[in-house]
Symmetry: C2
Subunit: 273 residues, 2 copies
């Protein structure tokens, strides 16, 4: 596998762009091939079997682009498909849940950790599973925040309405005296300042997107796969609505997204070659 090969990053839609952004910031030499499954979003309410099927198709597609590593930039797909998919390919596959959980367990001082995410992620209990593996003594308090994704997608990142909604959601968690909060949905880093200003200095926010990029950097170094040349053009693919995706991507990425292509993702067979 060549060091100059790109990194494959995929998500159920646009949220994973916050992970792509962190990779661009922390390891700027790496070229990204991004796939957003915008036709089949959201993943949160779908079964494990379906998510594995979808993830296999996407991995198959990314392999046609000769990626040297894959980042599953989606909490649900990380929870349901990482284990299966990573055993089926020979390149490293990294999810967002494990790096975030690891740092949260290391960060907490009073052992009380809050997790916010979509209903799917919170109900799956995936963060609890990883956190209790790392430190069996921590107490984990999950809170689904279903309004955050549409608020972010409206672009109301610091809007008084978003502040009010965030206050409502955070109230429940502050009652538990948490000192660490995991932003367990890839959209949430875009409103982390709003969330942080409500919780104050007492609570440390953990951004899995940041931790995932750091883990990727370590894995590439360990395997001698770091790119030594400047990154090429990042490329963006979606299963629906390429123009809408491009517009949103350009509001959050540090590079200009010139082109986004539609892919018929279902044509990529559900098997790993």
């Amino acid at each position: 596998m060549s060091c100059s090969a790109p990194i494959g990053v995929f998500d159920s839609g646009i949220g994973g762009l916050t992970v792509a952004r962190e990779i661009m910031r922390q390891i700027p030499n790496e070229t990204i091939i991004y796939f957003g499954d915008t036709a089949r979003v959201p993943y949160g309410s779908k079964s494990k079997k379906t998510i594995i099927t979808y993830s296999r198709q996407i991995v198959k597609f990314l392999q046609t682009k000769n990626v040297k590593a894959i980042v599953i930039a989606c909490n649900t797909a990380s929870a349901f498909a990482l284990e299966t998919v990573s055993q089926e390919v020979s390149i490293p596959v990294i999810g967002v849940v494990k790096p975030g959980a690891k740092v949260a367990a290391e960060t907490t001082r009073n052992g009380k950790i809050g997790i916010i995410g979509t209903e799917g992620t919170i109900n799956s209990g995936i963060y609890n599973t990883y956190l209790s593996k790392t430190n069996p003594n921590v107490k984990v308090y999950g809170k689904a925040c279903p309004l955050f994704v549409p608020l972010v997608e409206e672009g109301w990142l610091t809007d008084p309405i978003t502040v009010e909604v965030a206050k409502r959601y955070m109230n429940e968690l502050t009652d538990y005296d948490i000192d660490t909060l995991v932003l367990g949905c890839t959209h949430y880093p875009l409103i982390r300042h709003t969330i942080g200003s409500i919780l104050g200095d007492k609570v440390t926010l953990v951004n899995p997107a940041f931790e995932t990029a750091r883990t990727l950097k370590e894995v590439l170094e360990l395997k001698g796969l770091e790119s030594i040349n400047p990154a090429g053009d990042h490329k963006f693919y979606v299963s629906d609505g390429a123009e809408k995706f491009k517009k949103f991507a350009n509001t959050i990425l540090p590079c200009e997204v010139v082109e986004t292509k539609d892919v018929n993702i279902e044509s990529f067979a559900d098997s790993i070659g």
Copy 2:
């Protein structure tokens, strides 16, 4: 077909319960078999081909319950699948778009009609198509309101946050001097008082759920299919999350939902027998 046979009602999830509720109110003798496709919700972002496939599977399922008529209580499925599906079965199939559009065209005095709905419904332009068929002189102003569905699903129906979001969305429409507004998403009747109090008496709200139940009543009478006996137990089926569905249904229906069953909807072949 027996008059005592039930009415099949389906939606992508829980929104269609507002249509079921209107049927229970207006034609209380009818028994309802409801199917909510909660595993594959939302329909708004999916392709026409996919929605037709899903709708065919659901119609096939409803036919196993010997329904005498079917109501597509979902704007997207009404837009994409009604025409195809109604040609494939011998019983009446009624959608929510046409009855709502018809009444809006009859209601407006200044010819300026607003439509609110999900992004899928607004972008499909389906209301514009029906409205201009009924009255080519009307002007139609669409506004996607993506926060309304999650606000309703949080149960924040009259919450100050919902009022503030509604004000923001309505501002754009009042600029166009509309005198009629179609609630083009089955969740919206649950916040019609909030919307109505912002727009004031000058704007008439059209509730397609109400108009659809009225159309169903007329069709049953025309075909001599009205039930002459009291309704039996209404039955509720979903493709995922039966317990959560039951809880929500009990907050909005005039009857008690005792049992909700999970159905493997994909096992119903994509063909109409």
